[in-house]
C-alpha cells in the first residue's frame, strides 16, 4: 500500500463503495437500490484486490454481486407492495439510532485496536492456501457451515412445499 497507484486506487474504491452504500439508503426505488448495492459490493471486491486477496475478491463478486443480489431481486419481485418504493417505514428514528451505534462501534474499535503488522511477504497464490486452511485447521467450522446451509435449504423447501403427493403435482 505504499506506491501511488495503490493509494489512488484505494481512495477511488473507497469513495465508490461508501457513495454507493449511501445511495442504497437514500434512493427510493428498490431496484435502483439493488443496483447501487451491487456497485458497493464491486467496490469492496476492488479493495480486496488492493490487498492482494485475489481469491476473496473474486469470491466477493461471484457470491455477492452474482448470487446474493439475485436473491434480493427475487425477494423484491415476490413482495407485492414493496416492488416500487422503499420510503414507507415507521422505524426511521430507531433505524438511525441503530446505524449510528453500529458506525460508532466500528469506528471506535478500528481506532482503539492495537493493529499488529505482519512483516511477511504476501502469499503467491491465495486460493490454495485458503483451501488447505479450510480443509485442515478449520475443517469443523467449514463442515458445520455446509451442513447448516443444507438444513436451511431443505427447511425452506419443506416450508413452501404445497400439500399433496409429488405425483399429483406433475
Amino acid at each position: 500500500m505504499e506506491d501511488t497507484g495503490s493509494i489512488v486506487a484505494f481512495w477511488l474504491l473507497a469513495a465508490l463503495t461508501v457513495g454507493a452504500a449511501l445511495g442504497v439508503a437514500a434512493v427510493r426505488d428498490l431496484i435502483r437500490a439493488v443496483v447501487l448495492l451491487i456497485t458497493s459490493f464491486l467496490g469492496v471486491a476492488g479493495l480486496y484486490i488492493t490487498l492482494s486477496a485475489d481469491f476473496v475478491a473474486v469470491a466477493q463478486v461471484l457470491i455477492y454481486a452474482g448470487a446474493i443480489s439475485v436473491l434480493i431481486l427475487f425477494a423484491i419481485m415476490l413482495t407485492p407492495r414493496a416492488s416500487r418504493d422503499n420510503a414507507e417505514t415507521f422505524l426511521q428514528a430507531p433505524g438511525l439510532l441503530l446505524a449510528g451505534l453500529v458506525a460508532f462501534t466500528i469506528a471506535f474499535v478500528s481506532l482503539e485496536a492495537d493493529w499488529s503488522v505482519v512483516e511477511r511477504e504476501g502469499f503467491e497464490e491465495t486460493a490454495s492456501v485458503i483451501g488447505e486452511a479450510l480443509l485442515s485447521k478449520y475443517v469443523l467450522p467449514f463442515e458445520m457451515a455446509s451442513v447448516l446451509l443444507l438444513v436451511s435449504m431443505l427447511g425452506a423447501i419443506v416450508l413452501v412445499r404445497p400439500e399433496g403427493t409429488p405425483e399429483e403435482e406433475e
Binding site: 481469491f55 419481485m77 497464490e125
Partner: protein
C-alpha cells in the same frame, strides 16, 4: 528474463509490443508510462479483434444458417453480401434509440453499458498465446465465472427498466436460467482445476502442453455440460428462450432500439467469443497442438480453434429447435447436475490415485481418459434411461389434456423414477 526476439517475430505478438515499450523506456519516460501503454495496447488490440470477428461472423452466421435452412441469406450488399454487416452497423447507428415514456430512464440507459462491461472484461484473462494475455490472474477460471455472473443483473435491469411485461418475463427467465446453469459451469470447471492443480488459465494450458494431452480427453462429460451451460449463458439457440420471439417478442431487449440494441447484440457476440476462447484454453489445449505450435504461431492456432468452437454454436443455432423453459430447468437440475457431481467425484478420486500411487503420467493419463470417456457414455445413457428420456415417443400413445395448462401436449411428462 530471456532476451526479446526481434520485433517482427510474429510467433509472439508480445515481441513487437515489448520492443515498442523498450523504445518508450529509452526515451526517458517515467516507469508508469510503459505500464499504462501496454495496457492500452492490449485493450485496443482485443477490442479491434473482437469487432472484426463479430463483423465477419455476422455474415458467416447468416449465410451458414441460411444454407442450413435452405434459404440464400444476405446476398445483395456487396459481392455475396459481404458488406451486409457494415450496412447493418450503419443502420444501427442511424436508427432512433427510443426510450419509452414509462421506462426507468437511468436504469434503461445503464443496462446496455452494464451488459457490455462483463462481456469485455472476461477477455483480460484469456491467453491468446504463450504469455499473450492482458492479466494472467491466479484465479483466472473463477474470475471468468464471477464476471459473467454480473451479467444476470444487467439483464434483469434491462428487463425491469423497460416497464414492459414481455421484457420482464424474458428477464425473469434469464435470471432463473443463469442461476441454474452457473452451478453446472462451476462444477464442470472444478474438474479442470483439480487436474491442473491451478486456476490460472495460462498454467492450465501449460499443464496440457506438458503432459501432451488436452483436457477434452480427460473431462469429456465436463466439456459437454460446460458447452451446454455456456450456450445457455450466452443466450443462443436452442437455449435462447429468454428472447424467444415466438413467445415473448424479444425478451429483455424488447424495448431497445438503435444503437442500444446494438450494444446487446454486440455483447451477445462478445460473450460467445469469450466462452469459445475459454473452452479452447481449458479443454482444447489453448495455443498448443502437439508440436504444430513450432511451425504455426500459437495465437493463430488459438484463433482457429476459437472460431471452430464458435462455429459449433452457430451450427446448433441453425439446427436445433428451441426448448421450453421448464424442460431447460429440469434438464439442468435433474440431468446435468447429478452427472457433473459424479464427474467431480471421479476426477478427485483419479487425481488422488495418481498422486498417492506415484503413477507415471504416461500410464495414468491414458487410463483415466479411457475410463472417463466410458464413464461419460455410460452415465449419460444410464441416467437418461433411469429418468425415462432415452427413447422419445415417435408417435404419442394418447394426447394428454392438461386442464391446468389449458393446452394439449402429446407426450407424458417423464414420470418419477422408473416409470416412462
Amino acid at each position: 528474463m530471456p532476451p526479446l526476439a526481434e520485433w517482427y517475430d510474429l510467433r509472439d505478438l508480445g515481441n513487437a509490443v515489448g520492443a515498442f515499450l523498450d523504445w518508450i523506456r529509452d526515451q526517458g519516460a517515467p516507469d508508469w508510462v510503459p505500464y499504462v501503454v501496454s495496457g492500452v495496447i492490449g485493450i485496443l488490440a482485443i477490442l479491434v479483434w473482437l469487432l472484426l470477428s463479430q463483423l465477419s461472423f455476422i455474415w458467416i452466421e447468416r449465410r451458414v444458417i441460411g444454407r442450413m435452412q435452405s434459404r440464400i441469406g444476405p446476398n445483395r450488399v456487396g459481392p455475396r453480401g459481404l458488406l451486409q454487416p457494415i450496412a447493418d452497423t450503419i443502420k444501427l447507428f442511424l436508427k432512433e434509440a427510443i426510450t419509452n415514456r414509462h421506462a426507468d430512464r437511468p436504469l434503461f440507459w445503464a443496462a446496455p453499458i452494464l451488459i457490455f462491461l462483463p462481456a469485455l472484461t472476461v477477455f483480460a484473462v484469456i491467453p491468446f498465446g504463450s504469455g499473450m494475455s492482458l492479466a494472467d490472474l491466479n484465479v483466472g477460471v473463477l474470475f471468468v465465472i464471477a464476471v459473467s455472473s454480473v451479467n444476470t443483473m444487467a439483464v434483469f435491469v434491462a428487463g425491469w427498466a423497460s416497464n414492459n411485461k414481455f421484457a420482464l418475463l424474458g428477464a425473469m427467465r434469464t435470471v432463473a436460467m443463469l442461476i441454474s446453469y452457473e452451478l453446472i459451469q462451476v462444477l464442470a470447471l472444478l474438474g479442470i482445476a483439480v487436474f491442473a492443480g491451478s486456476m490460472r488459465i495460462g498454467a492450465i494450458v501449460d499443464w496440457q502442453s506438458h503432459f501432451n494431452t488436452w483436457l477434452l480427453f480427460l473431462q469429456p462429460l465436463a466439456l459437454v455440460s460446460f458447452i451446454i451451460a455456456s450456450s445457455v449463458e450466452i443466450g443462443r439457440s436452442p437455449m435462447d428462450i429468454s428472447e424467444a420471439e415466438s413467445e415473448i417478442v424479444a425478451g429483455y431487449h424488447t424495448e431497445y432500439s438503435g444503437i442500444k440494441f446494438g450494444f446487446f447484440y454486440t455483447a451477445e457476440y462478445f460473450a460467445g467469443f469469450a466462452i469459445s476462447a475459454i473452452t479452447v484454453a481449458l479443454y482444447l489445449g489453448g495455443w498448443t497442438a502437439w508440436g504444430l505450435e513450432e511451425w504455426v504461431p500459437g495465437w493463430l492456432l488459438f484463433l482457429a480453434k476459437l472460431y471452430l468452437v464458435f462455429f459449433l454454436f452457430v451450427w446448433t443455432r441453425g439446427t436445433l429447435p428451441r426448448l421450453r423453459i421448464d424442460q431447460l430447468m429440469a434438464f439442468a437440475w435433474k440431468f446435468l447436475l447429478p452427472l457433473a457431481l459424479v464427474n467431480v467425484l471421479v476426477t478427485g478420486a483419479e487425481v488422488l490415485i495418481w498422486r498417492e500411487g506415484d503413477l507415471s503420467a504416461g500410464l495414468a493419463l491414458p487410463i483415466f481418459g479411457i475410463v472417463n470417456a466410458a464413464l461419460a457414455v455410460a452415465l449419460v445413457i444410464g441416467w437418461a434411461t433411469f429418468m425415462g428420456h432415452l427413447r422419445p415417443e415417435r408417435r404419442a400413445k394418447r394426447a394428454v389434456l392438461t386442464q391446468e395448462l389449458g393446452a394439449i401436449y402429446y407426450r407424458r411428462p417423464a414420470g418419477p423414477l422408473g416409470e416412462a
